[in-house]
């Protein structure tokens, strides 16, 4: 087996992505559905430990290293690529699928990378692939948002590369492993990872760019960038206390902005930051329970967020509308999409018997073990807030609320199949979490289903629901957006640039005027001397020639006789 596993399994997805646009029809469909399954099989052929090494510039790179954590993330990435591919086949855009496969393949590459250089290479390919997925949204807004997205991620890549270069310089090793925050280089590595996780202050790229992608594009985007960042943080900075506070900020940022948001897919985009916040908090708490919680939460979150975005995407596909103010009452004609979307909404809210219930509580459970009362209280309030902003708000405003008068057709068959696939996984993991627990990085002795836990969780969620309906008038959506940190580069920086541009344009205009004046003077001079009326261009009368010749001859004669 060593021959096959020496090549990073993610490269198979990348290769398939590059091949996809060249194929047509059923062959293309087959590739989209088969390659993720084969990649998953390959991932599970990779044994624990370093499988292959490459020596480059005196450093030993480890393109493939099997770890429990890496395998867990690679597994869910492959499942996601399969389900997302199935969904995307309903509105087949070969270029988007190609970009998505390159993107997901490099994400799988990150999870099996044994060293920092391999990780960085796949990291950068991810940035390119995901930008192409955003651009495949097709609109002018998608192009502009994609460019902003790319700029931020290239900046993150540079920060990460600078950190890795400093780390290699200081330690002489490219090994990927736990790091302590004791050098500027390591802070840069942390910053590079956190940028991709959607941490403050640069988190606005996520709700800015993702909702501009196509329905299927955003499904892919939701899964890989933020979760590879969670994976990388789990490997390198587990237990760094700073991450608890960064994570809590993200959790509440996501809730507050989602409460204020009108665009259904931006609500879900803010909700990604919120959910990644739970994971980052878990990583910061450290310890087997919290890290298991963060890892399993990443796993289940990919599935239910994909499901939520698939149902939102189906609505967008059917109606062409994305704002809550334009939507409502769609349960009448899209009951399957609505039901499956609600399964996703219940899962993200961590209702008993869904996947969120068996994973999220491990994180808050770790906060009780550590006697961190305020962290625990904040996480509990945040869990209530998740139900508020994603669990009820999304389905309520899209499928119920008022009757918008829209009577769209139910989602296409392939979309329904993909949503059903993820809904089954969401409930399946919720009912039978043992297979997931068996894959976690540390041994699990956690029992999610105790009477205490079920009752308290139901109280927390259902009374949040009561608060939602009690406060419904305050939650009515309007045609508004909420300013975020991206204001500083979209308006403030561009205003500064504009200011200097005005001045420099004026100077340029002055210089141009001067140059023009000079050129005009030069041309006028030329004209005066060499133009048709110019003194040097005048045709001389023959008479004056003869006269001058006569004068010269006379002068010669005079000189001769002297």
């Amino acid at each position: 087996m060593a021959d096959i596993t020496a090549i990073p399994p993610g490269l198979l997805l990348v290769a398939a992505g590059l091949l996809l646009p060249l194929l047509r029809g059923r062959l293309q469909d087959a590739l989209v559905l088969l390659v993720p399954a084969v990649t998953l099989w390959l991932v599970w052929q990779v044994p624990d430990g370093v499988v292959s090494t490459v020596t480059l510039f005196g450093h030993t790179l480890e393109p493939v290293e099997g770890t429990r954590l890496g395998r867990l993330f690679a597994t869910v990435f492959c499942i996601m690529t399969f389900g997302g591919g199935l969904y995307a086949l309903a509105i087949k855009q070969p270029l988007e699928l190609a970009a998505a496969f390159v993107y997901s393949g490099s994400a799988v590459g990150v999870t099996l990378a044994g060293d920092l250089v391999t990780l960085l290479v796949f990291w950068e390919v991810m940035a390119v692939g995901s930008t192409l997925v955003v651009w495949c949204g097709g609109s002018d807004k998608a192009k502009a948002a994609g460019l902003r997205y790319l700029a931020i991620h290239l900046l993150g890549g540079v920060v990460l590369m600078a950190g890795i270069a400093g780390e290699v310089q200081a330690t002489g090793s490219v090994e990927l492993g736990p790091l302590t925050l004791d050098s500027p280089a390591r802070w840069l590595i942390l910053a590079g990872f956190l940028l991709n996780a959607g941490a403050p202050p640069l988190s606005a790229w996520l709700p800015d760019a993702y909702p501009e992608a196509s329905p299927s594009g955003m499904v892919f985007l939701s899964a890989f960038t933020t979760k590879t960042a969670v994976y990388a943080l789990l490997v390198t900075f587990a237990g760094a206390e700073l991450l608890v506070w960064v994570g809590l900020y993200m959790v509440f940022y996501g809730i507050v902005y989602a409460i204020l948001e009108n665009d259904m897919r931006r609500i879900l985009a803010y909700s990604i930051v919120n959910q990644v916040g739970f994971m980052v908090t878990g990583i910061g708490l450290g310890g087997a329970l919290a890290l298991n919680g963060a890892a399993s939460h990443a796993f289940v979150h990919i599935l239910y967020k994909a499901l939520l975005l698939m149902s939102a995407g189906a609505v967008l596909h059917a109606t062409g509308k994305r704002k809550c103010t334009d939507l409502g009452g769609l349960f009448r004609t899209m009951p399957i999409t609505a039901t499956l979307g609600i399964v996703g909404a219940l899962s993200i809210s961590a209702f008993p018997l869904t996947s969120g219930f068996v994973s999220k509580s491990m994180i808050s459970g770790a906060a009780t073990g550590g006697h961190l009362m305020y962290v625990w209280l904040l996480l509990a309030a945040a869990s209530a807030g998740v139900f508020l902003h994603a669990g009820i708000k999304f389905p309520w405003f899209v499928f119920f609320q008022k009757d918008s008068g829209l009577r769209p057709k139910e989602a296409p068959l392939l979309m329904r199949l993909a949503m059903t696939f993820f809904a089954v996984l969401c409930i399946g993991i919720g009912v039978w979490p043992q297979p997931l627990y068996a894959m976690l990085p540390f041994p699990v002795d956690y029992v999610p289903y105790t009477a205490d836990h079920v009752v308290t969780q139901l109280q927390l969620l259902l009374f949040s629901g009561l608060a939602f309906f009690a406060m419904l008038p305050a939650l009515r959506r309007t045609l508004k957006i909420t300013l975020d940190w991206d204001f500083f580069y979209r308006r403030f920086a561009s205003a500064i640039a504009g200011e200097f541009t005005t001045e420099s344009l004026r100077a340029a205009a002055r210089a141009e005027r001067m140059a023009e004046l000079r050129a005009q003077r030069f041309v006028a001079g030329l004209y005066r001397h060499h133009g048709p009326e110019g003194i040097l261009a005048r045709s001389w009368p023959t008479g004056s020639m003869v006269l001058w010749v006569a004068v010269l001859l006379a002068a010669y004669l005079v000189l001769f006789y002297l």
Binding site: I259, A380, G385, V455, L462, F463
Partner: protein, 79 residues
Amino acid sequence: MEDYWLVRPRAGRILWGVFAAILAATVLAELLIERHAHFGIDGIFAFNAWYGFGGCIVLIVFSKALGAMLKRTDTFYDG
């Protein structure tokens, strides 16, 4: 033609009644089970119920206050 049963006023009243009954049931269920409080505060009766309700109210009010400052028309960045 009459609209879907779910949106008739009568269905709304029934749903509110069912919801209220479930809320009461989750609170009363606490009497039947053994609670494990980790801190002092979460040992209070029906802690999660009022904490979830209150927490959400606070979150909504805070969001509205922040929104009053930070909200702009959704064409703010266009053009």
